[in-house]
């Protein structure tokens, strides 16, 4: 080791000690100055990450007090309404955390709120990645990891709110058991295996606890690490803008700018979560009472991220097949097993589906503006609309009681709307995207309307249009006009080739994906527009100067008098 500089500070000495052993300087030299691009939407993933850290911290605290046991005890804590009531230790310790541990309620609420934010932020982050095309090559695997993370987040959240063993959480577990039983062939054994026998038994909560605090968080932690390492290694995508190309990253350095911004943002997420937990009660388990399988409260609602699944189960027609002494509950396995399975598969496979359609195998580091890929954006909105329709279906009873209408009519309407609304959303979204593209072109060629009117010497009035800023122009001009696929469908002899069917399909799909497009202006048109702007601004400049000179000479701006304006 060379000894060109001798560290004198304790930090310097520690750094040398570490570097002597692990060559840390090598990695740090390359990474401290790493440039990250900036855009507000890149924060969404950060919210998810920080919520997960908050979950780990608050969850660890809760394990110190929570007792994952289904052994019955008689409650004798400080919450008077439940004194003397028989309940499981799990529920009793949840009450103790809420009432007898100082800060316990705060931690419980932070944990619950952070879970809601975690899944929410992941979902919206996923929307961002989808609509901007950030999932394209070379980031397809990270998209799949993200899909798995959302799924695990949902399962983890459900496991978490099932643990306190209050009436609401027990009802959720009962539904889980019912769905598990419906699985063909092995369902009964799955259910008996999960619950250690019949429902509810006494084994399930301790098992769920191990899954909730060890197994799933461990997998999430590993996947999050992989997710971040890939972002770091492949470098972040960037929004089109001045100076940004497929081959560079324009932004600010990790150290110090992003260390301060991202570090600060962690504290903001923590602070906001804590403040919400201080002011807004979430999951007041003491109000629900202990779980018992023969009671339920009307209007029971799961946490938001389970809503779509609950909705799917609610609107599913009652199809059940009985054959050869066996029962196949389509009314459960279709909405609760098949549907989420298909949704997850389509989601995870989307990067490859789009590649199949577009034939685009190039690397992408510049993001698409959602309007510039109308079909993808419309597909995304269609999927979100479908999801939201399911989600609304999960609240069909709340809608019925709120609007005092028939639950039957609402459920039947939702069954229809579930398939009618998404295609409408598709068409509307695609139209809006194309209109926005036209609007972009219009702004490029004609500029912003400024609302300033100019009267020319010969009496003509013109409105001043200001050219877009360089940043605004660069964002619009970053659009790629994609060609429609034209794959060979006949071989050299003019005979339909064996692959003709596939190629034909791809050509058609590609045409559906890209054919309707608003091409952006050519450089010549842009130059012409720029020339026009400089002419107008010269005229305006001159007029302004004349006015100034006029004022300097003591002149007064001519105001048209009433009868004059009538004449005009």
């Amino acid at each position: 080791m060379s000894t060109s500089t001798q560290p004198s500070t304790p930090v310097g000495k520690t750094a040398r000690w570490v570097d002597d052993r692990y060559t840390t300087s090598n990695a740090l030299r390359r990474n401290l100055g790493k440039v990250f691009p900036d855009h507000w939407s890149f924060m969404l993933g950060e919210v998810a990450l920080y919520s997960f850290v908050i979950l780990l911290l608050s969850g660890t605290y809760l394990t110190l007090f929570f007792k994952p046991s289904m052994v019955d005890v008689i409650y004798n804590g400080t919450y008077v309404p439940l004194k003397g009531v028989k309940m499981t230790e799990a529920y009793a310790s949840s009450l103790d955390i809420s009432f007898d541990v100082r800060g316990g309620l705060l931690m419980r609420q932070i944990h619950h709120w952070a879970a809601l934010f975690f899944v929410g932020a992941m979902t919206i982050h996923m929307f961002r990645v989808f609509f901007t095309g950030a999932f394209r090559k070379p980031r397809e695997v990270n998209w799949v990891i993200g899909t798995v993370l959302v799924l695990l987040g949902i399962v983890e959240g459900f496991a978490g709110y099932s643990l306190p063993d209050d009436l609401l959480s027990g009802t959720g577990l009962r539904i889980t058991q019912g769905i598990a039983s419906a699985i063909p062939i092995v369902g009964t054994y799955v259910s008996f295996g999960l619950f250690g026998g019949e429902f509810p038994g006494t084994d399930f909560l301790p098992r769920l606890y191990a899954i909730h605090i060890l197994l799933i968080p461990g997998i999430i932690l590993a996947l999050v690490t992989a997710h971040l390492l890939m972002v770091w290694y492949q470098k972040h995508t960037q929004w089109p803008g001045p100076g940004r190309t497929e081959n560079n990253v324009v932004g600010y350095r990790f150290f110090p700018v992003y260390m301060a911004k991202a570090g600060g943002f962690f504290f903001i997420v923590f602070g906001v979560t804590t403040l919400i937990s201080a002011f807004v009660t979430i999951n007041p388990v003491w109000m629900f009472g202990p779980y018992t399988p023969d009671q339920v409260s009307a209007g029971s609602q799961p946490d938001w991220y389970m809503g779509f699944l609950d909705g799917a189960v609610r609107v599913m027609p009652n199809l059940e097949l009985v054959f050869w002494h066996h029962t196949l509950s389509l009314n459960l396995i279709v909405p609760a097993v098949v549907l989420p399975g298909i949704m997850t598969l389509l989601l995870g496979a989307y990067p490859w589906i789009e590649q199949f359609v577009t034939g685009d195998k190039r690397e992408h580091h510049l993001l698409d503006r959602p309007r510039n890929t109308p079909t993808r954006t419309a597909l995304g909105v269609t999927a979100i609309t479908f999801y939201l329709m399911l989600w609304v279906s999960g609240a069909n009873d709340i809608i019925a009681t709120t609007f005092e209408s028939s639950i039957n009519a609402i459920t039947i309407s939702l069954r229809i709307l579930l398939f009618v609304v998404p295609p409408i959303a598709f068409t509307i979204t695609k139209r809006i995207c194309l209109s926005l593209q036209r609007r972009d072109n219009d702004k490029l060629l004609h500029g912003h309307e400024t609302g300033r009117l100019l009267r020319l010497p010969h009496g003509e009035f013109v409105e001043i249009h200001a050219p877009l800023t360089q940043k605004e122009q660069a964002e619009i001009l970053g659009k790629v006009d994609m060609p429609v696929l034209a794959l060979e469908t006949v071989d050299a002899n003019g005979v339909a080739a064996p692959w003709a069917l596939v190629n034909n399909l791809r050509n058609r799909l590609s045409s559906w994906f890209y054919a309707i497009n608003v091409a952006k202006p050519s450089p010549a048109e842009l130059e012409a527009a720029a020339g026009h702007f400089s002419h107008v601004s010269a005229v305006e400049l001159e007029a302004t100067h004349r006015h100034r000179e006029f004022e300097a000479l003591g002149g007064v701006l001519h105001q048209p008098s009433e009868d004059e304006s009538v004449k005009h």
Partner: protein, 353 residues
């Protein structure tokens, strides 16, 4: 935007004309990095000082919040309830601890971001991306290394070793999977029996009053949630709520001539019918009864059953009727269940038939 309205500065401020000549191979028109605009903190020492004081102020206030939070932990009694406008009655401890810790952390975050925005460099830096694919040379070398290792190991040239290893590896997970066998007891016919079948003619316990039910306890239109007598003792003995999860019933009385059908001949008693309370959909306890239509609605997924018509599923995702219990009255005038349900209660399962 050419800022021509500010005559003084606008004079002589020549805006670089944008050129549209650069493009990439995908047809994007590329524009160069735009001019960096200085912040006030870049140009004015006073503004920079003010930002410095603001940021330090936030960090200091955060520290005060944390000290105050410790004081709140020690001083605010944990069971005190305070009334706060909008929030209503809330825990004073939760409010003060959460408010102070939350505000403190929020201030650290806002301070750090303000520090980055106002005082750290804000001029954009351009960094080239490195190519992600390995070089042809590296690829070929890797393949060569792999070939060498494969050959040296003899993995391909010694098929007996390879096949026996693959066979062993394929079997390796099986014993591990078998170890999960004792996760639960075998289902046997547990799902087909409930506590009502433990002995014939079981009396019925009103869950609300804790009394055994007589026919006269139920007026027409009335409803009682009930369990078999002895269930609580059975639960104590088993240490679980398993028996309750199957045996819970509801009793409803209607005019005998309103009963369109029952699941067996005369299974009602003078207009009183007993049905399982556990929904045949996914097992939620059904609790909403509409007297006028005799319909029973599950609050979980809104399956609706007509109790005047054999408990038929009339709406919602449930496919099967609610199982009925045959009623009678014993010599002392108490209502009894003649025997067990004729079919499994609760959600469907594969072997149900």
């Amino acid at each position: 935007m050419s800022d021509t309205t500010h005559g003084d500065t606008g004079h002589g401020h020549e805006v670089e004309p944008i050129t549209y000549t650069q493009s990439d191979e995908r047809g994007r028109i590329l524009l160069g990095l735009d001019e960096h605009r200085s912040r006030r903190t870049d140009t004015s020492q006073r503004a920079a000082k003010r930002a410095e004081r603001q940021i330090a102020g936030m960090f200091t206030f955060a520290a005060i919040c944390f000290v105050a939070a410790i004081a709140a932990y020690l001083l605010v009694p944990k069971h005190d309830i305070v009334w706060v406008p909008v929030l209503g009655n809330v825990s004073a401890s939760n409010l003060s601890l959460g408010g102070l810790i939350g505000l403190g952390t929020l201030l650290i975050g806002v301070g750090a971001i303000q520090w980055a925005r106002a005082l750290m460099p804000d001029e954009e830096v351009i960094q080239e991306r490195h190519e992600l694919r390995g070089s042809d040379e590296a690829r070929e070398d890797t393949i060569e290394q792999f070939r060498r290792g494969a050959q040296e190991s003899g993995f391909m040239s010694r098929p007996i070793i390879r096949r026996s290893l693959l066979g062993a590896m394929a079997l390796f997970p099986l014993p591990i999977a078998f170890l999960l066998g004792d996760l639960g007891t075998a289902p046997d016919d547990k799902l087909r029996h409930t506590a009502w079948g433990n002995k014939p003619r079981t009396r019925i316990l009103n869950q609300g009053s804790g009394q055994m039910v007589r026919p006269e306890d139920l007026a027409v239109g009335g409803l009682i949630n009930a369990i078999p007598v002895g269930l609580t003792e059975l639960e104590e003995q088993e240490g679980s709520q398993n028996a309750r999860a199957k045996a819970a019933i509801i009793l409803v009385r209607m005019n005998p001539d309103e009963i369109k059908s029952t699941q067996g001949p005369n299974w009602d008693y003078e207009g009183i019918v007993a049905y399982s309370k556990i929904c045949t959909h996914v097992g939620c306890p059904i609790s909403l009864y509409q007297q006028r239509t005799h319909s029973l609605l599950c609050p979980c997924h809104q399956s609706t059953f007509d109790l005047s018509d054999s408990g038929r599923a009339v709406f919602g995702p449930a496919a099967r009727h609610m199982p009925q219990l045959q009623l009678d009255v014993d010599s002392e005038g108490y209502l009894v269940a003649v025997g067990d349900f004729a079919e499994p209660v609760g959600p469907s399962f594969w072997e149900r038939g």
